[in-house]
């Protein structure tokens, strides 16, 4: 009789809410994030309906401000930042490195509770009337003029920040201490490298966000002069501090996606990732250089010309490691035996969409172009191509790839491919028109616009309908597979990674015996199965 798997080891509520099993915590996070994705998505739906016509017909200007703020706050802090790290990362990292759990299992659970606490506080602010500052909370509006629940909202984000920090610490300690015998750094799957880089950012950047939010609340509540020049503050200090966190945070939101894509592309090309060491170090380079570019959000803010020049230059540098990755993924596809299973379709979509998002980032990094494009829909399109086209797509890809491992069930390949194609199509129809709108000068964050912009807005809203439907589809076929799907074998993709060398779903302590690693990752090929991974 073998050990029961982690889902069947116990059934009580207590065994879920007080679990320290990284796999169960991943599921807790997963369920929570679906909830937040729906809330953020509801706000987006309202926004796109409103923007279908040039007049204001659904909501007032004030409500519109609250809608896009709610959308941004929820999607950034309560969906994208924890998305891949806390669900797929939590579940897969220990399995991938042959460990029984993360280094600090109880800290892991605490991180989820902090996330729930922070999320509840911020949701309360939204329910009590909302916040109208935008997700960026720029002063002086947020400190002096806004009559909305700014302090409550930032308190929630402050608390959730500690959940981020704990997760980062946990991953760093785990990768250093808990690798299986023989699993040297250069034998680590690239998903681990990218989550390690993400964790470094989480630990180094998030405290600055926490401090910034406290300073904001201090000025708003106590009137201490920090950002307000009339009482001795510096008007740009808030933006400096905020973007010192938030630019690195955009890399928190893309690096894990890049990590997933490594696994998918190599698996469905049946080849090791081309230029492994370059891709591994590119992750760390992104994490480090990503801290030197934040001023590209402040080109028109009145920061000094020298600062703008330096930040512009550094922004070009930071694109280099991302480009290295894109080229190496393409080289991995070259002469591979490609298979177009659903996860691969998501990975290919990621490749195209991320490239467009990254290249338009370079447009924006040019001072002269940015003066024209800043605060227009061009910026909105740029970051949605990366965060939604890139990260959310990678999230779906990873979810499909590891679904059999996580749940022990196989989903309908037909429906999964259909959803992937619809997402790609709906996404482009939603966001490509926004590049055009931005280039023509439509500002972001307004709900009334000149009639000549309507065509592109209608296309975008139409695309959003398709995209929303496509995002809902997996709920059905993945949900269906939970109950009626065929049982998944241990290794449905014939992949060499350690996570596939244990049953699906894995037993409570992951491996029946301690795995030993004897070679580099991604050794696809006819002979890999012959060599034993478990010793």
């Amino acid at each position: 009789m073998t050990e029961p798997d982690y889902l069947n080891s116990a059934y009580t509520l207590r065994s879920w809410f007080f679990t320290t099993d990284h796999k169960r915590i991943a599921i807790l996070y997963f369920a929570t994030l679906i909830g937040f994705f729906f809330i953020g998505g509801a706000a987006a739906t309202a926004i796109r309906i409103e923007l279908a016509t040039p007049q204001a017909d659904l909501v007032s200007s004030d409500t519109y401000n609250r809608l896009f703020t709610m959308h941004g706050v929820i999607m950034v802090w309560f969906f994208l930042i924890p998305s891949i790290p806390n669900t797929l990362g939590n579940f897969i990292v220990p399995l991938m490195i042959g460990a029984r759990d993360l280094a600090f299992p109880r800290l892991n659970l605490m991180s989820w509770y902090l996330f729930i606490a922070g999320g509840s506080v911020t949701l309360f602010a939204i329910l009590a009337g909302g916040i109208d500052t935008g997700w960026t909370f720029y002063t002086p509006f947020s400190t002096l003029y806004s009559n909305s629940y700014v302090i409550v909202a930032v308190t929630g984000i402050f608390i959730a920040g500690f959940s981020s920090i704990l997760t980062g610490l946990n991953f760093i300690a785990t990768v250093h201490r808990l690798r299986a015998p023989g699993l040297t750094w250069y034998r680590l799957p690239l998903f681990i490298w990218s989550l390690y880089a993400t964790s470094v950012i989480l630990v180094l950047a998030t405290p600055v966000l926490a401090i910034t939010l406290v300073l904001l609340a201090t000025e708003r509540f106590l009137g201490v002069g920090i950002f307000d020049p009339r009482i001795g503050g510096d008007p740009l200090l808030f933006q400096h501090l905020f973007w010192f966190y938030s630019h690195p945070a955009v890399y928190i939101m893309i690096l894990p996606g890049m990590g997933v894509v490594n696994e998918l592309i190599s698996c469905f090309s049946r080849k090791p990732v081309f230029g492994y060491k370059f891709v591994a170090w590119a992750s760390l380079a992104i994490a480090a250089v990503g801290f030197l570019v934040w001023g590209h959000h402040m080109f028109v803010s009145g920061q000094s010309l020298l600062a703008s020049l330096v930040f512009s230059f550094m922004s070009f540098i930071v694109a280099v490691p991302s480009a290295i990755k894109v080229f190496n993924w393409t080289a991995t596809l070259h002469k591979g035996s490609l298979r177009f299973d659903a996860p691969m379709l998501y990975a290919l979509a990621f490749l195209g969409l991320f490239t467009i998002g990254g290249l338009t980032g370079l447009f924006l990094a040019c001072l002269a172009f940015d003066v024209h494009a800043t605060d227009t829909y061009f910026v909105v399109a740029h970051f949605h191509y990366i965060m939604v086209g890139g990260m959310v797509t990678a999230y779906f890809g990873g979810l499909h790839y590891w679904w059999p491992k996580i749940t022990g069930r196989l989903y309908s390949e037909y429906w999964a491919r259909t959803a992937a194609v619809l997402i790609f199509f709906g996404f482009n129809l939603t966001f490509f028109p926004q590049f055009v709108l931005g280039a023509e000068g439509m500002p972001r964050r307004y709900h009334v616009y000149p009639p000549e912009f309507q065509v592109w807005n209608v296309l975008s809203s139409g695309g959003a309908t398709i995209l929303a439907a496509a995002y809902l589809l997996p709920m059905f076929y993945l949900g269906y597979s939970l109950f009626f799907g065929r049982r998944a074998p241990a290794n449905p993709w014939d992949a060499p990674g350690l996570e596939w060398q244990t049953p699906s779903p894995p037993p409570e302590f992951n491996f029946e015996s301690q795995p030993v690693v004897t070679r580099a990752p991604y050794q696809y090929g006819p002979d890999f199965a012959a060599e034993p991974q478990n010793a």
Binding site: L237, H240, F291, Q303, S304, A307
Partner: protein, 93 residues
């Protein structure tokens, strides 16, 4: 736990922190001009060192831990360096 006494180093560093705090407050009332901030920052740096060395127990740790702790300091340096770069080179409009 009944027989537990805080180690002398901890008590000592706590007292040192209190003394430095008193010093900051006193010096704040002396008319030193722009030296007031300089002195306050120096004292704050000493306090931070005490906290890192004794309370965080970094003084007798291995290289890897020191690298990680140093990274925090280094990144703070980046924040100050690039942030001040704007502040010090701004031209009035």
């Amino acid at each position: 736990m009944t027989n537990w006494w805080p180690p002398l180093t901890l008590v000592g560093s706590w007292l040192a922190l209190l003394a430095l705090l008193a010093l900051t407050v006193t010096l704040a009332y002396l008319p030193l001009g722009s030296f007031n901030s300089a002195v306050a920052i120096v004292i704050a740096a000493i306090k931070a060192t005490i906290v890192a060395a004794f309370f965080m127990e970094l003084r007798d740790r291995g290289a890897r831990l020191l690298i990680f702790a140093g990274a925090g300091l280094f990144w703070l340096g980046i924040l100050l360096w690039l942030g001040l770069m704007d502040f010090m080179t701004r031209t009035p409009a």
